[in-house]
Each structure stands twice: as C-alpha cells, then as structure tokens.
C-alpha cells in the first residue's frame, strides 16, 4: 500500500493521495479550450474569409447583408468565441472553490510532457497552479468572457468577424499559458504569443496603413523588452541550471542580498516588464495600440496583457526582494510613468487616448506596488484595475459604437472618437453613463469603490516602505509617495474631464446625427453592468484591518476583509521574509506624519474635491466640435503632443539605426561582400578552365591518377 502511494506520488506530481489536498480539475482544459476555439474560429475565418479579406484589402467592406441572413461562418463565432471562454471560466471557478477549502503552501505543478530536453536542461510542458496564477486565471477568463460577450455586439457587423474571434481566443490561450506556465520558458512562450496576438489585433483593420503601423510599432517596441526577458532567463539558467519556478525560487537562498547578479536579473526582467506593461521608456506603443477594436483595447491593452509585467514581477517577488536597486528602479519608473502619463492624459481629446494614458498611469501604480515590496497590493490593483478599466474601455466602446452609427447614417466623416464631438450623451445612453461614472469614481480613488482601496494601499505601502527601519533609500521612497499622491489627484481630474466632455453639457455631434444616437444593445451593456458591480465591490476583498475597523469600514460593519492579502501569502511569504530580514519592520506613519487611516481619508477627500472641481471647471469650459477647435498653445500644446516623445525617439533612435542599416546594405553587403563572392566565382572559373586541360577523356587515365592519389595518401599515412 505504501509502495503504491509513493508510486502514485512520484507519478502524478499532485499529492492526490493526501486527504483534503487540492485536486486540480482538468486544468489542461482551461488552456486547451481557447486554443480549440481559435482553431474552430480560424477554420471558419478561412472558410469565410477570402472574400472579406479581399474586400478589406481593396479598401472597402464586405456587404454582409441583413442580420438574419448571414452565413453560418459569420454567426457561429458568436457562440464559439465567448462559449469556450465561459466554459474555461466555469472550470477555473470549480478549481478555485476546491482550492479555497485547502491550505496550499506549495504550488501544484501538473506536468504533461517534456517539451524540450538538451543535455542537462529540460523544460516540461507543465502548468503551475497556485494562488497567484489562479487570481490571474480568474481575471483572464472572467473579464475575458465579459469582453468576448461585448465583442459579439460590437463587432457583429464587421467583415472580419470570425477572424477577430480567432485572434481573441488565441490571445486568451497565450495569456493563460503565460500565467499558468510553470517555468520562465513557458511563460516566455505565452509572453511572445500575447505579443503576436496584440500585433494581429492592433492591426486588425490592416488595410488602414496607420493601424497596421501601430501594430508594427507595438511589436517592435515589445521586442526590446523581450531582449531583457531573454537575457534575464539566460542569467537564471547559468545561475540555477533550470528555468522552472519552483527550483529557481528554492535556489535563491544562495544568492547574495543586493548582489550584482540578482540586480542584473531583476533589471533585465524589468526591461521586459516595461516593454510589455508600457512603462517609461517603452510605453510609446500603448497609446498607438488604440488603433485596434475597442474590446481589444479593453482586454489586451487594459485588463490582461499589459499587466503581464506586473505579474512577472510579482511572480519573481523573491528575486526583486533580494535586490534593493531593482525594487527602487521598478517603483521609480512606475511612479514616474504614473505621473508622466497622467499629465499627458490631461490634454487628450480622443476618448481612447485618454484611457490609454490612464492605463499607462495605472500600470505605473502597480509597479510602484510591486516595487516597494507590496506584491499583494500590486496584484490587488491589477485586479481592480481589470474591472474598472475594462469597464471604461467597454463603455467608451459603447459610446464609439453609438457615435459611429450616428455618423454612418449621415455619411459624415467626423471622428467618432473625439470627445469634442460628443457631449450630452447621458440622455442617449443612460446605462453607459452610469456604469462609466462608477468606473471613473473607482479609478479616481473615491471611497468605497474598488480603486480607492487598491490605489490607497499602494500609496500607503510606498510611504511605509520608505519609512522602514533600514530602508535603502528613504528619501527616494518618500518622493515616490508624494509623486504617487499627485498622480492620483491628476487621475481624478482627467477622468472627470473625460466624463464631462463625453456625457455632460450640450450635444456637439450635430442635430441630424443626434437623432441616431442610442443606447448599446443588451449584449453590450450587460457586461458593463457586471463589471460595474466588480468595480464597486471588488476592492472589499483586501481591506487592511486598520481601515476596516475605522470609519471607512463603518467600524467593521461592512463585509470587508483582508482575504486577498492572506490568500497570496504563500506566494509572497519568502519575499517578505527577505524584506523583514534586511529592512526590518515597515513604518506605520507617512513621512510627514499621520497614520494609514488618516491618509486614506485625506486622499479620498482630496480626490473627491478634485472630481467636483474638475466637474465645475470643465463643465464651465466652452468646448467646440473638433472641426472648429483651435490648435492648443503653450504647455497644453506640449501635453497634447505627448511631450514630443515619439518625435525624439524617431530622431535619436530610429533614424540613426536606419542610416546604419542603409550603410550596411549599400556599402558592406552590396559592395564588399558581394564583390568578394563574385571575385571568388571568377577565380574559380579561371582556375577551372586551366585545370580542365588535364581532362584526357580516357577512363583508364583517370583511374591511374586516382590510384596515384591513393598511393600518395597511403605513403603519407605510413611514413
């Protein structure tokens, strides 16, 4: 019996034999389902797609006809696309509930087959099931499912509908590989895969050169980050000889605290994370990525893919905890990005651009969180952000959808995304209006919405970390804290500005067009409502004890808890041990005094004040439609042009590289290398002509010479 048990343990990898242990329920299916969806939708797209692709290539659109009479290839993806996600979400939920019942101290690794084995290095196709990956899986499948649903309404009339769902499902597949993979190598597969899908979806309307270019930009900028990821993996391999999470993290005990190696690894990883998660200096692709369909922006460029960097840092928390420089860099870049992007968002007119910069800014917050060692807080913000940012994007999608229809009816070519063309939409789209306000208040950090708890936690942790007993750079962290506070105020301002310009005041769409503005269909607003619920209550699962018992929790009357924090403890425990050992206890007061509760109240009051002020200020401004707007001047112009970052990148990086490439092509390749090759050819030809004189045509002579050669070789080998 014992032998049987040991055998079962040795084989399965999952300790199924122990009583009360976590027993995974078809974890492979979670990953497989979206892949199957991709294959099915891809096949449909191929079956249906040639004419639609041709139509798009010709610059037009395929006439799809009436809704009821569309071909099966066009209607089936509506079921397959969201369907596979729904099932995957259900399976994830089943697993999650099973996991809730048990204390899972060690991650469960389900290994399927050996993916590659070279020498001593092997990588298994294995899934790691632990608290962090489950949180991510819930977000990816849950929010993903809602966005898929929304897409059914949003993309229904697009000629590339099956192709769209194929890409979307493929993206989810890769995202799940990213978060569930049990090694850095597998994570990298997902990492690259989501990059590919991001490229495909940004350039979804590839006949438009600007959009195709945006896709390429995203891809190329991400490459720079991938370089960092790869170098970090190489370093890990040379250090530990493996890339699997469990042995790597077990092996970190041999690393020197703050040593060069671990610092290099973390910095290179952060380079990768900065690329994927749009941090300075690699953030430039994300605003351009808004060229893709809006649900794509919601799913990939707000809720899931861009948070992969945060996930990476949280996953590697032990490494980052061991490197104070790495942590400081992460937090510093994060807070700088948060502030920087927030200022740009102030002067954008495109509704999606505002949200894009807002996303960059919020990602900065998450990095502050994971940078200061508050991994749970960073992941917490990741989760709440997934709710309200997905909601905001989907809401903006509903608005754009409506605007687009309006302009479509009047054959107007105005910009359907420019907020200067909106205004007063609340009358036409009440549900969108309400849900988006909820999300706006959530992101602005107004109590008791989700964003308040997560963002406040991060800001507080920055302050607390700076005040730790032996904090490495206390002043620096205090500065981070202050910057984060300012950025929070800016967030409240630009979000309110967006809402006011979109929904309040007089309508600027045009009298004829206004008649066609309408609320989104149910399939689009239901996801909005669900996400709105998440945006309101999502924050309540991780409220510190101090806050819960204070006035902010009605003295503990509200159903709030510190659940997430405790739940993630097995993941972050080792990092916290390292922190405690080297930094000591974190502070319980802000740099300029005041406790956690006090600053929480201060920040929410300040944010509320900013919201009200912004509502007044922006509401009082006279906004004119985009066509009649004057060009911005002064600092507003700088902000409107995003600090001219793209232009500077173009001048100082892109053009020199282009020049060098041209030099390599024209001079080195065409002249020197080709010349050498041609010269070799001519020499060979000449020599061949000379040697051909030896050809007598007599086989015996050839045999004679051959034998002579053999004799020479024989002689040389003997003497």
């Amino acid at each position: 019996m014992t032998a049987l048990l040991t055998a079962a343990l040795a084989q399965g990898g999952s300790p199924a034999a122990e009583s009360g242990a976590f027993e995974p329920f078809l974890p492979g299916l979670i990953v497989l389902l979206p892949l199957l969806g991709f294959l099915a939708n891809g096949a449909l797209a191929l079956a249906h797609g040639r004419d639609s692709a041709n139509a798009v290539r010709a610059g037009g659109e395929l006439d799809l006809g009436e809704r009821g009479s569309r071909p099966l290839t066009h209607t089936l993806p509506s079921w397959i696309g969201p369907g596979v996600l729904g099932v995957a979400f259900v399976i994830t939920l089943v697993n999650f509930t099973r996991m809730l019942g048990v204390e899972l101290a060690e991650p469960v690794v389900v290994s399927y087959w050996t993916w590659m084995a070279t020498g001593t290095f092997t990588v298994d196709a294995a899934l790691q099931l632990d608290q962090l990956s489950f949180l991510m899986m819930m977000i990816v499948t849950g929010v993903g499912f809602l966005i898929h649903l929304f897409s059914v309404g949003y993309m229904q009339d697009d000629a590339g509908y099956p192709r769209y769902f194929a890409f979307l499902n493929l993206f989810v597949f890769f995202m799940l590989v990213l978060v569930m993979g049990a090694s850095y190598a597998l994570m990298f597969v997902g990492w690259e895969g989501v990059g590919l899908c991001s490229y495909l979806l940004i350039g979804f309307w590839f006949s438009d050169k600007e959009k195709a270019d945006a896709g390429k930009k995203a891809f190329i900028v991400n490459r720079i980050g991938d370089f960092g990821f790869l170098v970090a993996m190489f370093l890990l391999y040379t250090t530990f000889g493996t890339l699997d999470f469990v042995p790597v993290f077990d092996g970190t005990e041999t690393l020197v605290y703050g040593g060069g190696l671990v610092t290099a690894i973390t910095l290179f990883f952060f380079l990768g994370a900065a690329g994927k998660s749009a941090q300075i200096p690699l953030y430039v692709w994300l605003p351009d990525a808004m060229a893709g369909p809006t649900p794509v922006s919601a799913l990939i460029h707000a809720a899931t893919m861009v948070t992969a960097g945060v996930y990476l840092v949280a996953r590697s928390s032990v490494l980052f905890a061991l490197s104070p420089v790495g942590g400081a860099t992460v937090a510093g870049v994060g807070v700088l990005t948060a502030l920087f992007a927030a200022t740009i968002a102030l002067q954008q007119h495109d509704i999606k651009k505002v949200l894009a910069y807002s996303t960059v800014s919020q990602l900065g917050y998450m990095f502050v969180g994971v940078g200061v060692g508050a991994y749970a807080a960073g992941v917490f913000h990741l989760m709440t952000h997934a709710f309200f940012k997905a909601l905001l994007f989907l809401g903006s999608g509903a608005v754009i959808h409506s605007m687009h229809h309006a302009y479509h009816h009047t054959h107007s070519h105005e910009d359907a995304q420019d907020m200067r063309n909106m205004g007063g939409l609340k009358a036409h789209m009440p549900i969108t209006w309400i849900t988006m306000w909820i999300a706006t208040l959530a992101i602005a950090g107004i109590w008791p919405l989700a964003g308040f708890f997560s963002k406040d936690e991060i800001i507080w942790q920055a302050a607390a970390f700076g005040g730790a007993e032996t904090a490495p750079y206390p002043l620096l962290y205090s500065l981070y804290w202050a910057m984060a506070l300012v950025a929070a105020m800016l967030t409240a301002f630009y979000m309110t500005r967006m809402m006011v310009m979109t929904f309040h005041g007089a309508n600027r769409t045009g009298t004829e067009e206004a008649k066609h503005l309408h609320e989104a269909p149910a399939i689009m607003w239901v996801p909005l409502a669900v996400l709105a619920v998440g945006s309101v209550f999502g924050g309540w699962i991780n409220v510190p004890e101090a806050l819960r018992t204070s006035v902010l929790g009605f003295g503990g009357a509200l159903p709030m808890s510190e659940w997430l924090h405790h739940w993630l403890e097995p993941i972050t425990a080792r990092a916290h041990e390292v922190q405690l050992e080297h930094l000591g206890e974190v502070a319980h007061a802000a740099p300029i005094g005041g406790g956690e509760v006090a600053w929480a109240i201060i920040s929410t009051v300040a944010a509320l004040a900013v919201v009200v002020a912004a509502f007044r200020v922006v509401g009082a401004q006279k906004v004119v439609p985009a066509a009649q707007s004057p060009a911005p001047t002064g600092f507003a112009k700088v902000l409107y042009n995003k600090y001219y970052v793209d232009e500077h990148y173009d001048r100082f990086i892109v053009r020199p590289i282009l020049g060098a490439s041209r030099f390599c092509w024209k001079v080195i390749d065409a002249t020197i290398i080709d010349g050498t090759v041609n010269a070799v050819g001519w020499i060979a030809k000449g020599l061949g002509w000379g040697v051909s004189m030896f050809q007598t045509g007599s086989v015996n002579t050839y045999a004679f010479i051959l034998t002579l050669g053999v004799l020479v070789i024989l002689g040389v080998s003997i003497f």
């Binding site: 015996n700 004679f704 034998t707 053999v710 004799l711 024989l714 080998s717 003997i718």
Partner: protein, 174 residues
C-alpha cells in the same frame, strides 16, 4: 585444419582474381570472378561469418554476377577473343603502380601488430551466434542500432532500381 583450409581458399581466390584480370573473354572473366567470390565466401565461413558467406553466394554470385552475365550475353560480347589490355608503356607503368601499392600495403601490414588466432570480437560473435543463431546475430544489431543506415540502404536500392530502369529504357522513338 582451419588455417590450412583458409590457405586453400585464399589460393583459389587469388588465382581466380588474376584470372579475372587476364582472361580473354568477358565470360571467362566472369566465371573466374564467380570462383573468386565462392572462395572468398569460403574464407568468410572460416572466419565465422556464415550469414555473409551465404549472402555472398546468393546475392553476389547468384544475382549480381548473373546480371553481368546477362548483360554480356545481351550485348553479345562473349565470343570476342581479342585481348583488350592497354598495351605497352601504360601497362608497365600500371604494373609498377600496382606493385608500389602492394609494397606500401605490405609495409603497413608489417608495421601492424600481429594477431594470433582470432581476436576478441570472435568470442562476442560466437556468443551471439549461440544465442540467436547465425542470422539473428547479425540481424539484431542491424534492426536495432543500425536500423537507420539499413533503411537508407533500402532507399538507395530503390533509387538504383529507378535509375537503372530510366537509363536502360529505350526512348519512344527508337
């Protein structure tokens, strides 16, 4: 006894080889060749390569040489009795070359270590023969360790068949 038989077979093989080179008619050459092959098969048997000896006869003498004979008859070359040796200086120089080669090989052989009787490999082969039979002893490594070369050989034969047919087939017009 074995060594004596070996010398007998070796003598026949060498004599027949010389016959191959100097015989007037191709058919004579060919029959000398068959004799040489049979004698070499005999030496194979003495060196515990029973299977190879059988294959040597079946494939070499029984198939390849029959093919040669067939071609000789098809082209009706058999009855020419003129000697087609290259004449004069070339033959002398060639003989010198062959002699030099013989000398070098002899030098090489003299320099090598003398192995008395049969070596270590013979015992392994004998053991394999006892366990799997003479065919099994060679078939086992052939179908396990050397299965890829074996398959490639099969492809080579297929290519050779196609090539031979393509070469020998008459064009449609003729």
């Amino acid at each position: 006894m074995t060594v004596f038989l070996f010398y007998v077979f070796a003598g026949i093989a060498i004599g027949a080889s010389i016959g191959v080179v100097i015989a007037r008619s191709p058919v004579g050459s060919l029959l000398f060749m068959v004799t040489a092959l049979a004698a070499i098969a005999g030496t194979f048997v003495l060196m515990e390569a029973h299977f190879l000896a059988a294959v040597q006869i079946i494939v070499y003498a029984g198939a390849i040489m029959v093919l040669f004979l067939f071609v000789i008859m098809l082209l009706n070359l058999g009855h020419e009795a003129q000697r087609d040796l290259k004449g004069g200086a070339f033959a002398v120089v060639s003989a010198g070359l062959a002699g030099a080669m013989a000398g070098l090989l002899a030098l090489q052989l003299r320099g090598s270590e003398v192995v008395a009787g049969s070596g270590a490999g013979a015992e392994a082969i004998a053991a394999a023969n006892a366990e799997y039979g003479v065919v099994g002893a060679i078939a086992r490594p052939l179908y396990t360790t050397y299965v890829v070369p074996f398959e490639i050989t099969g492809i080579l034969l297929l290519v050779a068949i196609v090539g031979a047919v393509a070469l020998a087939k008459r064009g449609e017009q003729s």
